[in-house]
């Protein structure tokens, strides 16, 4: 761990303490997991505390962990992962917040802390169905007007459910169930630990 990362890690512990559920350092990046209840308070501290000073929110995205490592995931299904950056200190942190209810994922909005998160939360809502209470304009953003479902969830097929074509009889564009057969060229493979090593036979 570089000196800078160590300072950041200490500052995080000092100012957030128990609010951090867990903290991982990997590949030169710090990830902190926080509870839904502490989420807004943690984010406010991250922005306002001069020792941390994360002025910019770079990215927020939803993640669906339901098929992680072929279904080995034990934790909650949905998370909102945000990447913060401090222009003053030149460091980054990743904040992960898991929604408590898998059937109705809800994570408080941070749009009043960083205005840039506006469209990211709309996107996470659109694609994953994560609801952000406190967001005043939570509409769909990327999918079609009148789209049904949340397409980036792992149980949503890659081909979707409906397709659109021009119908010469009705002389208009119609929606109909998809006619494409799902096809997987390269299967998804997760190797067991130390696959192919001599003493693993």
């Amino acid at each position: 761990m570089s000196a800078k990362l160590e300072v950041l890690s200490l500052n995080l512990q000092k100012h957030l303490g128990k609010q951090i559920r867990s903290q991982q350092v990997a590949l030169g990046e710090i990830t902190i997991d926080v509870d839904v209840g502490d989420y807004v308070a943690v984010m406010t501290t991250l922005r306002d505390e001069p020792d941390l000073c994360f002025e910019e929110l770079m990215d927020l995205c939803g993640v669906d962990f339901s098929t992680y490592a072929n279904g080995q995931w034990a934790g909650k299904r949905f998370a909102a992962v945000s990447h913060l950056i401090s222009v003053a200190h030149n460091w980054r942190v990743r904040v992960r917040c898991f929604a408590t209810d898998d059937n109705f994922p809800s994570i408080p909005s941070v749009v009043s802390i960083w205005n840039s998160v506006n469209w990211f939360e709309r996107e996470a809502f659109d694609l994953y169905g994560i609801v952000f209470p406190g967001h005043n304009d939570l509409r769909r953003i990327l999918t079609d007007y009148g789209f049904i479902g949340h397409p980036f969830r792992k149980d949503f097929p890659i081909s979707g459910y409906v397709e659109m074509r021009y119908d010469p009889d009705q002389q208009r564009v119609i929606y109909q169930p998809v006619t494409i057969e799902p096809r997987e060229v390269t299967p998804r493979i997760v190797r067991e630990e130390r696959y192919g090593e001599a003493d693993n036979a």
């Binding site: 205005n115 469209w119 980036f152 390269t186 190797r191």
Partner: protein, 417 residues
């Protein structure tokens, strides 16, 4: 007489100044914009979901199609994410090639931007000049990868192949006489580096020409100065990066602040704006082109005297040389496994960002150890910048909306993904 109410106007998606498929619902009071509501997603292809169903290396060409005006920078962030997760070292020559092509890409992008921005606000000729110069640079793309736009040249572990020793030549045709062809082939007689060096020598003068057309142009200044002012505080609050942030006076550039590849060995400056209006952002981008030009020259000088490998020799990541594949069993197996199953990236998560011509382009990848990404999030700068559209245009005249679209440098491939 009835009261005149605010009315809404639909701007785009088929509007020549919408830079693609931007649909904006503008609420107007007379000619003043009260609210702008961009509707995006008309070019949504679910790149991130598609990437989950492809092996790691198969998604590289998808990256070109995100911001289709700065193709190689997108690939760069993606390849860097994979390399960091795998913990592999990229050969130094490949790093220089990448930096050189990143800067070529930056000039390509800014040239298109200056042309389109000029066109938006009425400087018709700019686009013609800018495309004249773009031609030489897309030729460099073509020489190295075979494609003029969607190169797929960067690969995890390095670049696809070394720089070519010769440039493709023009041939005599119905439209080009022998004398003409001889003249344009003159600079193409040497290697790619010779051709590029010739361009680098010419380019500062060309930029001066552009500036005589625009920088002190009355109309250009009337349209840009004090339009769309963003204070540094608001710029950070709105998540601006790249020239949009630097235009507001914050000297933030990932190439300097968090250097990747060989940027820390190169000499260049970061231009910064003062007032944060559209004119400052214009000046910043023009100066960035000059700085990119300097970087390219330094890379050319280095690449000329330092031959070496351009892709990692770790055959679990990159394909072995074809000759060895034909004669060596081990290499044959590596090639077969790579092409049928692809590489396995160790479990973990990474966020890799590059200084893209438009701002910070980031790839957030989660791997569960499979041969495909578990989740790939693309942080595109244009998405964030466009989300600030409402704040930028509010209170401005409707004609300034087009200036704002131009100054953000919108490309829909990356916004809708």
């Amino acid at each position: 007489m009835p009261d005149i109410q605010n009315y809404t106007l639909n701007f785009g998606p088929q509007h020549p100044a919408a830079h693609g498929v931007l649909r904006m619902v503008l609420e107007l009071d007379g000619e003043v914009v009260m609210r702008a509501d961009p509707h995006i997603g008309l070019l949504h292809r679910a790149t991130e979901k598609l990437a989950e169903t492809k092996t790691w290396v198969q998604s590289v060409p998808y990256m070109d199609r995100l911001d289709y005006m700065s193709m190689m920078c997108n690939e760069h962030a993606y390849c860097m994410a994979i390399e960091r997760m795998l913990g592999i070292e990229v050969p130094i020559r490949a790093q220089y090639i990448r930096v050189m092509y990143d800067e070529i890409t930056r000039i390509l992008n800014h040239l298109l931007w200056i042309g389109a921005h000029g066109l938006d606000v009425g400087a018709m000729t700019m686009v013609l000049y800018a495309f004249r110069e773009r031609e030489d640079l897309v030729d460099c793309y073509e020489a190295v990868s075979g494609a003029r736009m969607h190169a797929a040249y960067y690969r995890p572990g390095g670049v696809y192949r070394d720089l070519p020793d010769s440039m493709p030549q023009y041939r005599e045709s119905k439209w080009k006489s022998a004398a003409e062809v001889r003249k344009i082939n003159e600079v193409r007689s040497g290697s790619l580096l010779d051709f590029l060096e010739d361009f680098v020598k010419r380019f500062p003068k060309i930029l001066d020409e552009y500036e005589t057309l625009l920088t002190d142009n009355r109309i250009w200044k009337q349209r840009l100065v004090n339009v769309g002012i963003v204070s540094p505080e608001r710029a950070m609050q709105l998540g601006f990066t790249g020239p949009m942030l630097r235009g507001s006076g914050i000297a933030w550039d990932l190439r300097k602040k968090q250097p990747y590849e060989v940027y820390d060995r190169l000499d260049f400056d970061i231009p910064v704006g003062v007032t944060g209006d559209c004119y400052d952002r214009y000046l910043v981008r023009v100066e960035e082109m000059r700085q990119s030009n300097r970087i390219i020259q330094q890379c050319i000088d280095w690449l000329r005297v330092n031959p070496g490998p351009v892709i990692t020799d770790n055959y679990k990541v990159a394909s072995p040389p074809r000759a060895n594949m034909k004669s060596n069993m081990e290499e044959l197996i590596h090639h077969f496994k790579l092409c049928t199953e692809g590489m396995h990236v160790p479990e973990g998560q990474v966020y890799s960002a590059v200084e893209h011509p438009k701002g910070e382009f980031g790839i957030y990848a989660i791997s569960d150890g499979a041969n495909k990404p578990y989740r790939l999030k693309i942080r595109s700068p244009g998405y964030v910048h466009l989300s600030a559209m409402d704040e930028l245009t509010r209170g401005h005249m409707i004609a300034d909306v087009v200036t704002m679209v131009g100054t953000i440098d919108i490309v829909f491939g990356e916004i809708d993904r």
